[in-house]
Symmetry: C2
Subunit: 337 residues, 2 copies
DNA sequence: GTGAAAGCGCTAACAA
DNA sequence: TTGTTAGCGCTTTCAC
C-alpha cells in the first residue's frame, strides 16, 4: 500500500486517452452533455474513473468566479454556543452542496480582518459573520469585494440594516424572572455579560424590566462578568457573600450558570431547594449535568439553518421580502429551578 | 455603508496604475524584490493598499501546486474529544501559517470518501485523518494523488505502518483500576466501546489485565455500548440492576461516564461515597460537573499539535527518524473517585 | 531593475 | 457532435 502514482491526472490525460479534446471532457464531466454521443460520453466517464480523476477546483473557480464555499467567522469555537451554531450552519451548507471554511477570531479585530482576507482570497461565495465586536473594516472589505454576508446573533452597532439572523431575548428572560417569582423567589440576582456586546444589554434590560414590574428590582443584585465557567464560579461566590439570603440567580449564558451551579454546590447550597438558577443559550451540555439546567433557550439549530439559507439565497440573488430574520428565545424549565 | 466597488482589483490593475507589468508587481508582493528599485516597490505597495488588493489564492495555487491548506477528517465534530483535538490541530496549523478545512464523516465511509475527494480537489498540502473505521479506498486515493497524511488516535487495522500519532492507554487504565482498588473498591465494572474500534479493545484489555492481577476480575462486569451520554445513562442503570453492590465503574470515555454519573445520582447513589467512577479522554466538560470527573487523560492538545507538526514536516520532506509518535494517557484523580 | 511570454487546469464561446 | 480558441489571475524563467 505504498505510493501508486505521483502525477495527478488532468482533463488532458483523459482527453488524450479517449482521443477527444478537453472541451469535450469538460462538458461530459459537468453534465452539459446533451449533445455528446453516448459512446464518447461513456468512454470518457470510464477513463476518468480508471484514472481516478478528481477535478482541480481551483482551475474551475478561476473561471467561474465561484468556489461553492462559504466562510464562517466565529469569535471562539471553544465556546459551545458558537460551536453548535457553526455545526448547524455546516450541516445546512453541506445539504445545499456548499463547503465551509471556519475562521476563529478569538475576539480580536486583527484576526478577524485577516480571516476576511483569507476568505476573500479563497473566493468564498459568501460569509456568515458572528461578530466579536464592531468590525467596520471587515464589513467594508466584504462590500468592496462584492462578497455577500449575513450577520448572526450579535448586533453590530450602526449596522442594524444588514441582513442577519437575530434572536430576541426579552420574552424568554422575562418568563424566567416570572418563573422564579412564582416559585416564591424574591432576591433574584443577575449576572450580566460585557457592556460592549449589545446582546447582553438586551438580556439584562429584560431582567430589570420584569423585576421592576414585580416590584423586586434592586440594582445591587446585578453583577458583570466576562462569561466563562471560571467567571461563573467566582461571581457566584461573590454573590453568596454579598447577598446571603439570595434565592435565585439568572446568568447571561449557560457556561456561567454551570460555573454558578458548581460554586453553589461546593458552598453547600442545594439547587433548586435553597436557590434556583437559570442559564441562557441551551447548549447541549446544559443537560449533561445533574440537575439539568433551567435555561432560556436560543433556537441554535434554527438560527444556523436560517443564516445559511439566507446567505445562499442572497448569493443566488433570490428576491427576498425580508433580509432580517428574527427568532425568539424561550424558557425551558428543568432541574435547577 | 453600501456596496463601494464591485470589481475585485487584480495584479494587472495595480500594474497599470503604477506603470509596470504584473511580473514586477508579483515579485514585490511576494517579497522577492531584492532587485526591484525601492521607488517602484513602495509605489506598488501603496497602490495595492489603496485598491484593497487581495491576492487570488486559487490562481497562485494553480501554478505553485500548493494551497497552504491542510484537511482534517473527523468522524463527528459534536464529540467533544474530536472537537478539542481538531481545535488543537487548527491552532498549531495557524501558527505555522497553514489554513485548515474540516470535514465530518459521521462515521460513514461514503462521506469519508467524498471528503477526501473534496480535499484533493482543493489541492490540500496534506490531510490529518481521524479514521472512523477501515478506509482503504480513502488512503488509496490519497496515495494516488500524492497527498501526505497522518493518522490520529485510531489504528486503521492493517495500516499500522502509516505515519501517525497514537495514544497508549494501557498504563493509564491500569492505574485507574489500581486506584479504585486502593480505595477499597472490589466490584469494578467496565463499560466498553464498540469492538470494531481497536482503541476500545486496548482499553478494556488493560482493565481485564489489571483486574485479573488483582484477583477481582469477573467477565460479567463488562458491558458494551456505543459511547454517548444516553448510552452511559442506560448502561449504568442496567449495571445498578445487575450488580447491586457494584462499587466502581470505569467507562470507555468521558461522555459515557458523565451519563453514568447522572444515572447514579438519580438512583440515589452518592458519588464518590457509595461508588467511584472513572472516565477516559479528559475532555474539558469533565471539569464542568460537580463533582469533577476522575478520568484517564489523553494529552489531547499535544496529540493535535504533534499530528500537525508531523504532517507539516512530512509535507516539507523534512527527514524524520520516526514517523509514528506515541503518547501516553495518564490517570487524573478528581472528585468522582 | 524590469518586461515579455508561457503556462497552471479548466470553462465557454464560437466554429466546423 | 466535437474541436478551436481564448482567457481566468497568477508565477516564473529568460531577455533586455
Amino acid at each position: 500500500m505504498a505510493q501508486v502514482k505521483v502525477k495527478k491526472p488532468t482533463m488532458l490525460d483523459i482527453a488524450n486517452q479517449v482521443g477527444v479534446t478537453k472541451a469535450t471532457v469538460s462538458m461530459v464531466l459537468n453534465k452539459k452533455d446533451e449533445l455528446i454521443s453516448p459512446e464518447t460520453r461513456d468512454k470518457i466517464l470510464k477513463v476518468a474513473d480508471e484514472l481516478g480523476y478528481i477535478p482541480n477546483s481551483f482551475a474551475r473557480s478561476l473561471i467561474t468566479k465561484k468556489s461553492g464555499t462559504i466562510g464562517i467567522i466565529i469569535p471562539d469555537i471553544t465556546n459551545p454556543f458558537f460551536a453548535e451554531i457553526a455545526r448547524a450552519i455546516e450541516d445546512e451548507a453541506n445539504r445545499l452542496q456548499y463547503n465551509v471554511i471556519f475562521c476563529n477570531t478569538d475576539n480580536q479585530v486583527p484576526k478577524e480582518e485577516s480571516a476576511i482576507r483569507l476568505l476573500i482570497g479563497k473566493l468564498v461565495d459568501g460569509v456568515i459573520f458572528i461578530a466579536g465586536g464592531t468590525s467596520e473594516t471587515s464589513l467594508a472589505l466584504l462590500n468592496q469585494h462584492a462578497v455577500s454576508f449575513v450577520l448572526v446573533d450579535r448586533y453590530i452597532p450602526g449596522c442594524e440594516d444588514y441582513p442577519g439572523v437575530y434572536c430576541m431575548s426579552d420574552d424568554g428572560v422575562m418568563d424566567g424572572v416570572r418563573h422564579l417569582y412564582e416559585k416564591g423567589r424574591r432576591k433574584i440576582a443577575y449576572v450580566r455579560g460585557p457592556r460592549e456586546l449589545r446582546v447582553f444589554e438586551y438580556r439584562v434590560n429584560a431582567y430589570k424590566e420584569m423585576m421592576t414590574t414585580l416590584g423586586i428590582y434592586d440594582e445591587r443584585y446585578v453583577y458583570e462578568v466576562l462569561p466563562s465557567l471560571e467567571a461563573g464560579i467566582a461571581v457566584t461566590e461573590q454573590i453568596a457573600r454579598d447577598v446571603p439570603d439570595v434565592d435565585g440567580i439568572i446568568y447571561c449564558n449557560d457556561m456561567t450558570a454551570m460555573g454558578g451551579l458548581k460554586a453553589l454546590t461546593r458552598l453547600g447550597y442545594h439547587v433548586p431547594r435553597d436557590i434556583s438558577i437559570i442559564g441562557y443559550d441551551n447548549i447541549k451540555i446544559s443537560q449533561f449535568i445533574e440537575p439539568e439546567l433551567t435555561t432560556v433557550a436560543q433556537p441554535i439549530a434554527e438560527m444556523g439553518e436560517a443564516a445559511c439559507n439566507l446567505l445562499i439565497n442572497i448569493i443566488n440573488e433570490v428576491p427576498l421580502k425580508e433580509q432580517k430574520i428574527f427568532l425568539y428565545a424561550e424558557l425551558v424549565v428543568r432541574g435547577t429551578s
